[in-house]
Assembly symmetry: C2
Homo-oligomer: 226 residues x 2
DNA sequence: CCAAAAGTGTTTGCTCTACACCCATGG
DNA sequence: CCATGGGTGTAGAGCAAACACTTTTGG
């Protein structure tokens, strides 16, 4: 074929994997086993195969790193500065993933001996390549997205209490919210439904809710104009 | 370098170029001069050079196709299905551009003999590759973006009347808006300022405004919750 | 019975929406 | 003086924000 006359490059996908742990928003990072940046922390990822779509490459990498399937995964942005990888031209399609708090992460996978660990987003190490930039872009996008879609549920287990969602929003957005107003709003939005279960523990048992799969979970932004 | 062990691919950029012409939102398309899809209309674009960033490649292509520099240009999405180009693996980073209604488009450029033409978005031909999908995604994103940022000004000349902005919004969103409410809102948003000029023509002359460069042109979306 | 977290309404102010008439200019 | 588009205010409804006490359970 006549594509060879055009410059050929390596393409990678990288996945910013967010989860809530211990009352903070955390990101899964992988320690590099080779040069360049050997030993430094980086956003997990890998190269796109010849016959593989970008989405497939991303979910394959996600499952290789964490063992997870079927979690929320969305393309974020494509980074293509010529000098961003010292080995040569590598263009990276960044994705972000939201994994439920109770998801069983298998941290050391067969195919990858890489050491991985969770880091709270406020206390990130210096990352390899341009990964600090990529991560802060992902974080901005997550916060933004949280404000006009119901994507926050992706970070919760299947059954959750109203206080748990509220805490989720408070953690990610970094604000305190009024309990009564929050409940009125979320129940009015008609995107969750009560279940027959309750969570017991300290204090009065709480009603467990779950996300409604048929919910239209997007808010019309208030237009700048009309 | 050791990048050669990873699959290498061709990378292209394509630019969906929007403008307002004759009371409708139009897109600039290029007729393909070679196979595959010879003679069919396609989104203009080209391959990314070895030492060129994605943004640079996009603005180079835009200026080759239209002669324009410095117009609004934003990365849209990256399309990477393995079979989307019959010649082989080509991953495309799509951008979209908004060009002012009065911009002088030089339609036939030296380096490209390609025939280009404007098409209203409601009456598009069948396009080459997966370009119909890409275009409808771009359109959705433009409409969305219009609702919470002041990006609509990118489609207007430097000086414009309030009626002209209102018509811009009506055309793109496909709705009718109330004149008084629209004006109250846009003036309250503090993103435009009156100038010393008026536009004369039929009827009473209209005050000309311009976009304030220091304006914070983003609306906080109403949160789903709080 | 005490500690802990769940659950529940009302009032006030603001924002959005609907709506109709006069004004300035050119022909 | 007439046609054309530009420019202006107000009242009513719906939404958002502030605010404190009672309920249910486990220990």
């Amino acid at each position: 074929m006549n594509l060879q006359k055009y410059p050929q490059m390596a393409l990678s996908v990288e996945i910013i994997i967010f989860a809530l742990h211990e009352q903070s928003l955390q990101v899964l990072l992988a320690q590099r086993t080779e040069n360049p940046y050997q030993g430094q922390w980086a956003i997990p990822g890998g190269f796109v195969q010849e016959d593989e779509s970008l989405d497939k490459a991303a979910s394959r990498e996600l499952s290789e790193k964490t063992g997870l399937e079927g979690v929320f995964l969305e393309q974020l942005y494509t980074f293509g500065e010529p000098q961003r990888d010292p080995r040569g031209r590598v263009v990276t399609v960044a994705y972000f993933a939201l994994v439920p708090a109770d998801a069983p992460i298998r941290e050391n996978n067969l195919s990858e001996a890489a050491h991985v660990a969770w880091f709270p987003v406020e206390r990130l190490p210096r990352l390899a390549f341009d990964h600090n930039d990529i991560l802060s872009y992902a974080l901005r996008r997550l916060r933004n997205k949280l404000e006009y879609t119901a994507v926050g549920f992706q970070l919760l287990p299947e059954y959750f209490t109203l206080s748990e969602i509220q805490r989720t929003y408070e953690i990610i957005l970094g604000v305190r919210l009024d309990k009564r107003n929050f409940r009125r709003r979320i129940l009015g939005a008609n995107i969750i439904e009560p279940t027959m279960y309750k969570r017991t523990g300290e204090g009065r048992p709480a009603q467990l809710y779950r996300f409604r799969l048929d919910a239209v979970a997007e808010v019309k932004a208030r237009r700048l104009f009309p």
